[in-house]
Amino acid sequence: MPLTQCNPNLLQQSLDEQLTLQQEELLALHLTECETCRASLEQLAADQGSWKSVVKVLRDETSGEHAAARNAGSSLIPRAPLSADDDDFHDGPALKPSDFIVDFLEPSENKDSLGRLSNIEIREFIGQGAHGIVLKGFQEELNRLVAVKVMAPHLASVVAARKRFAREARATAAIVHPNVMPILHVDSSGQLPFLVMPYVDCESLQDRLDREGSLPILDILRISLQVARGLAAAHAQGLVHRDVKPANILLERGVERVMLTDFGLARAVDDATLTRSGLIAGTPHYMSPEQARGEGVDARSDLFSLGSVLYAMSTGRPPFRAETTYGILRRVTDETARPMRELNPEVPVWFDAIVMKLLTKSAAERFESAEQVAGLFEECLGHLQQPDVSPLPLIVRDLTPRKETRPLKKFLLLVAAVLAFISLSDIAVVFMHSKNPTEETELLGAESAPIEVTQPPLWNDGVDEDLKQLDTEMNTLLEQTNQ
């Protein structure tokens, strides 16, 4: 017999990804023990016939004659275990650079060139993301190297995405700031829209996180400060980035410059309905709750995403994780992130507090602006470098939970606790003996009962607050013992 209880409701909710992390863990444990529930879950997922035909087709597809006929390994077969980051989503519809070059570029006479795109000789394929591919090119008449970002065909076929791409890319071109990757040229008239940027030798923050895991606090602050400044510049132009994530933060090699990129594509991917439908590939790990709900966003949405990026830099992973896109969106809107110090004890308490404030679900409770955040980071950086000279900013100190309780206070608290417990038990006992049951419940539930114990306040350094908290806990305890 299984030790945990069967709960058929949880099974359907699990398929619909409606369970909290905790419920999910409990159900997982239960499924290990209970064969009946395993069978019900499979039945709920699909009838036996569907399971059979899917299994048969996928086997046929990836083995024997079918696979051979297609002369390429099926993209359905998983990559070899332990070969890559497990938490990553498989990239969107496969886009082979060779196909792309044949279809999109014009032939070039230059033999070092892969082809031509407008007045650019394309020399190399740099990389590809879910939204497009990046090529390295050379503009002869201007004698400069450029990076060309071309929108992925699956996005280019979404009319709204194309329109936004053009509009936003033009808006970005108006931001001139050392922490924002400039856009030199936009072309959205052709088959696939593209934009041209200066070629910079850099890697993305995502690459660095993949390689190193979490980063030292000094690096985190240096990077965040520049990202916040870049955001502040964009916000000053009335532009919301909407896709602040490690892959869009570029770290220039050799110098400590950080640049924010990809404003142009941002609007194309912000639509949560597109993300949910799977039309837009990529991870929504860094979306704000208002984005995840498909609501309108303002600059404070970028602050939430910035908070998620800081979280990822501090712990090596984004704050909200789940098995599917939908699951992540739900966690972003409904659940509180685990304190960073549980994952990395080296994170300073005050830094954890800053990140948690950025990650507040309600936009109004985050910081006021990217500019304010940049200012804070600057002061924090000063504090880290010279703790004796530069104190932490006041706002940050106010966010930080009270320091460790001093020994005397601990002792006094203990005494207070014992006293409170005795008095409350007495009151409870008296009530139980003297009152009829209805009145008893009412009185025990009343807030006034235990206040007497804490008054008058004997200490002014916050102990009375601690005592109030103690009262509340006592109340709860009392209620529980009497139930």
């Binding site: 699990s14 997982a28 290990t32 998983p78 497990d86 098995e323």
Partner: protein, 194 residues
């Protein structure tokens, strides 16, 4: 190739606004499948957009034959049946003459309702649809979940062994593989109301 905006509204304004939306949604979901189908039928890459377009045109033209039977979702069901038939006819065509027919010839050939369905093509269609749905769903899941599904369902390896290899609990494998299956089924149902 038609401009994108025309492609997506590519008919016939449907009188009923609901149906007009349904058509657009359907094209959004089905176009991806048709592109893959055309590729896998051996249509050369540069003809794929055109051929996909012809198939959608044939489907759109067949919509004229629709009559509301008063049942809910009647248009949707009808649409998915027509699309299925047109796609199957396309597969038979491609089998007969590899290299691809194009232009208005293809549209009229695909609309030829008299042509008996070729059983081989019907089976291939079901196969293509499941493969397409599985590929879509794969992108929605993290790699570990897909690996667990593949190893325990397709390769039928013991759950405990796979769990320890992947560093996850057996229980989480039971959950995610059912989730994956449910999603595959849902994807298929979105375009194929059989």
């Amino acid at each position: 190739m038609l401009p994108l905006e025309t492609r997506h509204s590519l008919i016939v304004r449907l009188k009923d606004v609901q149906n007009d939306f349904a058509w657009r949604d359907f094209v959004c979901a089905y176009e991806g499948f048709l592109i893959q189908l055309a590729r896998r039928q051996g249509v050369p890459e540069r003809h794929v957009p055109d051929v996909t377009q012809q198939i959608l045109m044939a489907i759109a033209k067949s919509i004229e034959g629709w009559k509301d039977d008063g049942n809910s979702a009647s248009f949707w069901r009808w649409l998915s049946t027509v699309s299925r038939n047109v796609a199957i006819r396309f597969m038979s065509q491609e089998r007969k003459q590899t290299g691809g027919v194009g232009g208005s010839d293809l549209v009229s050939a695909l609309q030829n309702v008299e042509a008996p369905p070729d059983q081989h093509s019907v089976r291939r269609y079901e196969h293509e649809l499941i493969v397409w749905a599985a590929e879509q769903v794969r992108h929605e899941f993290i790699e570990t979940s897909w690996r667990a599904f593949w190893a325990t369902v397709i390769e039928e390896r013991p759950v405990d062994e796979v769990a320890s290899q992947l560093g996850v609990t057996a229980g989480s494998i039971y959950m995610s593989r059912s989730r994956i299956m449910a999603k595959i089924k849902k994807r298929i149902a979105e375009v194929n109301d059989q």
